[in-house]
Symmetry: C2
């Protein structure tokens, strides 16, 4: 059993490979819900849906989020009623948000809603939100605190990040199945996602960090930083503006004590000793997931490295 | 000031003419909400929206409801989550339903939500829902009781109607402005809408019938039945299956005591004496609203007949 802590685009690409490398039914995704947002009174779970759409081979390959060939008639029409256009939700994607909002209002737990959505898309793996309670990632900038989607989508990550807070985290409990998926796994893999706003909220859910510290599973992280840059998203900017080194070891330091095996790119080969000084094995390989073949090969290498540990 | 009790398609056509014949700002629409429905957790007010879209010159001219050139991506996509496809809400129409549902959940009164929507579509007339409280028209058929939209849309009015009930009507109050619009009008006009399921619910809201009985306004009704047939909708079938005559006088009898002037089509000229025996003046004219010109002329004739009474 493989349990993967997942943000959005980077995680979804890794999971596409993993579900080719191993039996999808042996994969459990624990999805960040700190980015969830309720535009127009609906409920959007960006990271969860990116993973589901990607694993269903329905994700928009150009953006990495949203649905292939989606249209935008509803968000266009909503402008008439004074809504801003920045939250660019496609029509078919919006159907998911309508369905999830309806279920939650009827008292269905988020993890049950997500399980139904994943089933509707034909997924064989398990997708679990990190928590059924609302946790919202808040970004403190020079101009005040913003909800994550505002920072990410409306401001296009252009604001300097001074601090990150997970509103609601104290009251959040891990969703049913989350702790068991950490304790009972052969490996727990931290996907190549933003350590602050994708993996960070999952680790911050009370009980998760301890379960990860205590599990007998191999604990693996894949660097989202390659040669000092990030493939997608604001991770590099955040590392810099929060005072961390923008490098694979900069990420690895955030995971020290929680991870046994750290995967970094060939381009960062010379940094492997730094990783090992942090008490992790380093796996140096090509982590650029530019094709389905590469995604699968990366997952296979990681699965092999996990097996070698045994 | 002209106050119009309005159902959907027939009413919207008459109102298009009236708003050409008189100053739109002098027109108040009291809209049936008995057909309102909450598909997918949204809030659709079919009759109200038909009127708003028609007066904004945005209604689909082929169907008489929905928006010109609308697409159906969301309802198609919702099928994946197990929703039936019978409620065929277009994407741009759905934006209205999303907006209204959000406002109502935030505690905004329906009449305020409707006023905002009408303003957003540039309407100069006033559109009032009959009540802010939920009233739902229920249709008793041989196969049990159905919500109106199920009877209308899913069963395409094919079931025999045994009885009609307005669930929630006892607790409903007229929306703010409704009684004043009846009492203070120069004329109250019952649009050529279904007397049972369009005008019926409005008359059934506690206080409305009495206000109409007591007003000094000219009280006018336009027959939705022409030569024993209906232009659109199930009014003829309902008259028959509920044991009424399928004719202009069959409708006029339902309004006896509430209406001073009854408008019937040239094709029913020979029935004018029957109308007058019911204690109403009869206005015989071409009521087939086949063009904007005809809609305007019909409204002008009615306005003239109202003036002559004075």
């Amino acid at each position: 059993m493989y349990t993967v802590f997942a943000g959005g685009v980077g995680a979804s690409r890794f999971l596409q490979g993993l579900c080719q490398a191993v039996e999808p039914a042996s994969v459990t995704v624990i999805s960040n819900t700190g980015d969830d947002v309720e535009p127009f009174g609906l409920h959007v779970s960006p990271d969860t849906d990116i993973v589901i759409y990607a694993l269903a081979d329905a994700v928009n390959p150009e953006t990495g989020w949203g649905l292939k060939g989606d249209t935008f008639a509803v968000v266009d029409a909503l402008q008439r009623y004074g809504y801003e256009r920045w939250f660019n939700l496609g029509d078919r994607d919006l159907a998911t948000a309508i369905h999830r909002a309806r279920l939650l209002r009827e008292g269905v737990a988020l993890h049950e809603a997500v399980a139904g959505i994943a089933r509707a898309w034909g997924l064989a793996c398990t997708v679990l939100p990190m928590s059924n309670e609302p946790v919202r990632t808040m970004i403190a900038t020079g101009d005040g605190e913003l909800a994550f989607q505002e920072y990410m989508v409306r401001l296009r990550t252009e604001a300097d990040v001074h601090a990150i807070r997970f509103a609601g985290i104290e009251e959040a409990r891990p969703a049913p199945g989350v702790l068991d998926a950490i304790r009972g796994a052969e490996a727990v893999i931290l996907a190549p996602s933003n350590p602050f706003v994708s993996i960070g909220p999952i680790l911050a859910v009370p009980g998760v960090r301890q379960a990860l510290a205590e599990t007998r599973a191999a604990r693996v992280a894949i660097s989202p930083i390659i040669a000092g840059q990030v493939v997608k998203g604001p991770a590099a900017k955040m590392l810099a503006s929060l005072g961390y080194e923008v490098s694979a070891p900069g990420v690895a330091r955030l995971y020290a004590g929680l991870v046994d095996l750290f995967v970094l790119d060939d381009q960062d080969r010379e940094l492997a000793p730094v990783i090992e000084q942090l008490g992790m094995r380093a796996l140096v390989t090509n982590t650029m997931m530019t094709s389905m073949e590469r995604k699968k090969e990366l997952a296979e290498e990681i699965v092999r490295a996990i097996g070698e540990r045994r």
